[in-house]
Amino acid sequence: MAKIDWSKLAGIRSSEITDPALFARRRQIMQASLAMGLTGSIAAPAMAKGAKAIPLKAKISESELSTDEETTSFETATTYNNFYELGTDKADPERNADKLKTSPWSVVVDGECDAPGNFTLEDILKPHAIEERIYRLRCVEAWSMVIPWNGFELGALLKRFKPNSKAKYVAFETINDPELPGMRRPVLDWPYVEGLRIDEAMNPLTFMAMGMYGNELPNQNGAPLRLVVPWKYGYKSIKSVVRISFTDKQPPTSWNKSAPNEYGFYSNVNPDVSHPRWSQAKERRLSGDTSGLAALFSPKIDTQFLNGYAELAAPLYADMDLKKHY
């Protein structure tokens, strides 16, 4: 048996070591073990290669709100996703990505505003200059990534619809297609809905992404249009948006409906507010070069209040007890 070079195995990524012959042989081994019904989902992530990178045509400007931390690899960010409409396993959204049809796409805007309507994706995107925002993304499951998003501020988009004085909240809805593989069972009360207070929505940090890493937004990451709210847990950043509604009452949110004692409306990243499932004090940073053996021993890092965005986001909650309004 060949001697295993541990340091080498720990250091290199699967994309670098997979020559076609080896890949074919690995497939055979996997198929054999799958036939035996013994490996379960273990073999599945092997197929993951990440999304196809389709570069954006738009000119992309940089932003001072970007972090200079090491970014997560495109491969990692497109193979490890929570997008339950495409399946509940982390590898499912990549596997089922082509089941999501993003063309044609339109967004309904309604509720407390003077310029509602049904807009095509082109209508939505046209007036906006595209910038890059490199944000930390903190999942409630205590892992995090650093992702360069491409898009524009949500506030700039919302202003176009002329919200009126009764618009206290903004509600969002994800695509509702019963054909999507994850939607056949009521894992959540479909369609997925989220919401923000209007001042949260208008905060300069709050971002609407139509791309990432200078590429078109892959389906598994919420194509063609998704929200990014960097100081809140990831599930607030709703994917594949089909409806934006201005409301005078706090809108329902999917995870809050599923387990109100675990997921509040605000869902701000807060290491001092413990969650019934995960201590939120620390997080595992998935930076992309930490696959295989090396990842087993990568230390967790401390989670920051409001995910490190307190300077801009904390004033939103000046008079609030964030332990009560979690």
Binding site: I42, Y80, R284, G292, L296
Partner: protein, 218 residues
């Protein structure tokens, strides 16, 4: 044919011990391959995990994948162990019960790997955080209970302990039902959203418990 039934502590042996061991020897001569085969098969999931890890096939968060997989395999072996006793009755063959110890030990093996990954790799031996987890998060409490029950069962699984504990061994090892319930509750409570898998295990364990209770009452 009825060797295992006669050996089972719950059904007192009518045959002499000499003929029992003679029957036993003959049964094993016929099925000498069974235990080694099951042993190797039971190691396949573990080998598959190690292989996938060393070839970087577990995705960006291998600790999460390994924790989930080892946990699920522990539960599968617990359930398999509980199936073996009624299976003997249904098949009227002794071999299922002859595999019981090995399957039980594999359940413990996967549970121990599962626990070690949590303790060493996930929590990185942070005892304060682990204690807080066990006390504050009900699903971790349930999982810890399951593991703490399996531990003495694994230790007392050898022949010498069966002899030494006599009748007490049987009542001690009935605790595996509590461990199975705790393990399933652990899974039900940790699953996010309305997931079907934990409830499938819950249903199986409930059916096996009812089968067992019916036999005890009858």
């Amino acid at each position: 044919m009825d060797t295992a039934l006669q050996n089972s502590p719950s059904t007192p042996s009518k045959a002499t011990s000499a003929s029992t061991s003679e029957n036993k020897r003959r049964t094993w001569a016929k099925r000498w391959w069974l235990k080694p085969l099951v042993f190797v098969l039971a190691l396949v999931p573990f080998a598959s995990m190690v292989y996938s890890l060393l070839t970087n096939q577990l995705g960006p968060n291998p600790i999460e994948v390994l924790t989930d997989e080892t946990g699920e395999w522990a539960l599968r072996f617990i359930v398999l162990g509980l199936v073996l006793t009624p299976l003997r009755g249904w098949l009227k063959k002794p071999w299922p019960v002859q595999l019981r110890r090995m399957i039980g030990l594999f359940a413990f093996f996967y549970a121990a790997v599962h626990f070690s990954i949590y303790f060493i790799l996930d929590q990185q031996l942070d005892l304060v955080a682990i204690l807080a987890d066990v006390l504050e998060r009900p699903y971790i409490t349930a999982g810890s209970v399951a593991f703490l029950i399996l531990l003495p069962l694994a230790i007392t699984s050898n022949r010498a302990m069966v002899k030494r504990l006599g009748k007490k061994w049987q009542s001690l090892h009935r605790w595996v039902y509590i461990a199975a319930c705790a393990a399933v509750v652990h899974y039900v409570w940790l699953a996010k959203g309305d997931r079907i898998e934990p409830f499938v295990y819950l249903a199986i364990v409930m059916v096996l418990l009812i089968v067992r209770l019916k036999r005890v009452i009858a």
